[in-house]
Amino acid sequence: MPAVSLPDATGHFDRFGGKFVPEALYAALQQLEEAFVAANADPAFKTELDELLADYTGRPSPVTEARRFSEHAGGATILLKREDLNHTGSHKINNVLGQALLTRRMGKTRVIAETGAGQHGVATATAAALFGLECRVYMGKVDTERQALNVARMRLLGAEVIAVDSGTQTLKDAMNDAMRDWVASVDNTHYLIGSVAGPHPFPMIVREFQRVISTEARAQVLARYGRLPDAVAACVGGGSNALGIFADFIPDTEVGLYGFEAGGEGVDTGRHAATISAGEVGVLHGMRTFVLQNADGQTSESHSISAGLDYPGVGPEHAWLAKTGRASYEPITDSEAMDAFRLLTETEGIMPAIESAHAVAGALKLGRRLTEQGVEKPLILVNLSGRGDKDVDTAIEWFHVDTHGDSSTGAAQ
């Protein structure tokens, strides 16, 4: 793994990041940082992780040129980094396997996790099964209802799923409950955070375990096209898949980095999760970052059709990338994301997770815009962070898909 320049020694990306946590967790954060630094310097750790990523996850994931889909992108060529093909169906497994190895190195026997869409929960439950760890996943009650399939998967994998009914009953409240659990269980338990969010060192560790996405993709694009992409696009909730595909491109200043946030029903309606586009600097879940909050600093409720993006904060490195201008962040509405979900499915036979569909929708807009700006045949690399199987129920409802009749297309507009 390349040298880590930021965060600084105290976990800050300039003014963002840090550790705003109860004192009880400091010792565990310190232990985790030390374990990570030691593992990073240990060739045996890297070998074991690389073997798992190859033989268990199925890496490297391919880059697919989306030819028919690209016809809708204003002359751009859209490339899909296929994290949807990973074991468990998303990029989440990359980080989970790394942290599971760290858990074992720290001598801990239990993992807890928060999950929104359930992808991180499923990945954590999977690794727990593989490593023989006890596992509990906290999930907002609202999310357990809209992602019932993933709840069943986690339970079949042997994990205990807790439906969190406090607060807004979504991802942020799941994270609160996971932190409360950790305060009481830190002796034998690792909190396996799934995003580049939370107190230091989590944003750094998760980024480094997701970096493999951009390391592979950069080499794959260079090998096939003889040049770097003009733009890299990803959806951003907490932001782990985005930092994964941004990481190795950050020094390539000629490559535009674009994060697409959940615009929900529209940023001007107030019902969205576009944290960087519409939030203000504050402290949430142990980090200083952009937060959707009211005038008093109480966290606002976020809204998105995608449970995985329905989060009122964002990883501190994204806040920093936005502030420095290295990356740009824009909202994509529910309806734009669902249109892209359908278009990609119908033109490529690839059904994206609704989270990833935000990036796909963003790439469509970006392709048209770059072409208008005079960029010739722009090459846009999109992180297809997960597959859409879990979202079929949502799609059935959104598109009024006929599941009972004998219509040959199975769909009605």
Partner: protein, 281 residues
């Protein structure tokens, strides 16, 4: 300020009692009445320091009881500025008040403005559950400028280095969380607390130490007062308010008064070990 108060009480041969209630629950006016009830009415003894909690949307240090009250208080419209009214109401009784608040709310208000308004309302200091000295530069400056106590938390898991740094960063007293966990009542007092208090005293023999988390009744308060300067009670005081609210009698403070009387008697019934060295002076 509050530390000197604890020392005076210790000199009387007992531990101090700190009572926590959130502002705005069951509503703002009743919460102020409840805090006055905490301080003791008439001849009845009450708490020696009121810890006024500010409800927050994401209270990671709090268990189910305080979360429930906080969520309801926010739904019923409590605002950060209501804290200052509560501080004023408590200060008017002659019992000192400190505020327990999550950092984003202070940062949003402005650390210096918050410190100024807290001081003007008659407040003595701040307890910051999710702000440690590591991230507290702004709070050091504001609390110095306005002469406020700053009470940081220490934990059984704190390393010696961190313990030393945190204890020396505190002004007033040190909040020792007695166990690894969040707020809420427990059936037994923690076995980890006495060792933690000893570690703090070894570092700084003059440090005043309050012990919180899990204390439910007078007997437990008495046990903790045997080795700590102050006993902090929260959820046990809030439970009767939740019961009254659920029964449709939110203004009924009788259950709260009963708990206060039991706790106040508890800290007065023991022989404070801490006081023994002072008993001849």
């Amino acid at each position: 300020m509050t530390g000197r108060r604890f020392a005076e009480i210790r000199a009387q041969g007992r531990g101090a009692l700190v009572g926590y209630l959130p502002v705005g629950y069951p509503d703002v006016p009743i919460s102020l009445a409840a805090m006055r009830a905490l301080t003791g009415e008439g001849d009845a003894p009450g708490v020696d320091l009121v810890e006024i909690g500010m409800p927050y949307s994401d209270p990671v240090m709090d268990g189910a009881t305080i979360q429930k009250a906080g969520t309801r208080a926010l739904q019923r419209g409590v605002r950060t500025a209501d804290v200052f009214a509560a501080v004023g109401a408590v200060a008017a009784t002659g019992t000192p008040a400190v505020v327990m608040i999550y950092w984003n709310l202070v940062e949003r208000y402005g650390a210096d403005a918050f410190a100024r308004d807290l001081k003007n309302a008659g407040g003595a200091g701040l307890i910051t559950p999710d702000l440690t000295p590591d991230e507290a530069q702004e709070w050091f400056e504001a609390s110095d400028a306005h002469g406020l106590d700053r009470i940081f938390l220490v934990s059984p898991s704190s390393t010696d280095d961190r313990l030393a740094r945190t204890v020396s960063s505190c002004r007033g007293w040190v909040y020792a969380t007695s166990l690894m966990g969040v707020t809420g009542t427990r059936t037994q007092t923690s076995s980890l607390a006495p060792a933690l208090v000893r570690r703090i005293r070894t570092l700084d023999p003059e440090a005043m130490v309050g012990v919180g988390l899990g204390v439910s009744n007078g007997a437990q308060a008495r046990e903790v007062a045997e080795f700590a300067d102050a006993v902090i009670v929260g959820s046990a005081l809030l439970n009767p308010l939740l019961t009254a609210d659920d029964a449709g009698r939110p203004e009924d403070l009788s259950g709260l008064r009963t708990v206060v009387a039991d706790l106040a008697a508890g800290v007065r019934s023991g022989t404070s070990l801490a006081s023994q060295g002072l008993s001849g002076s």
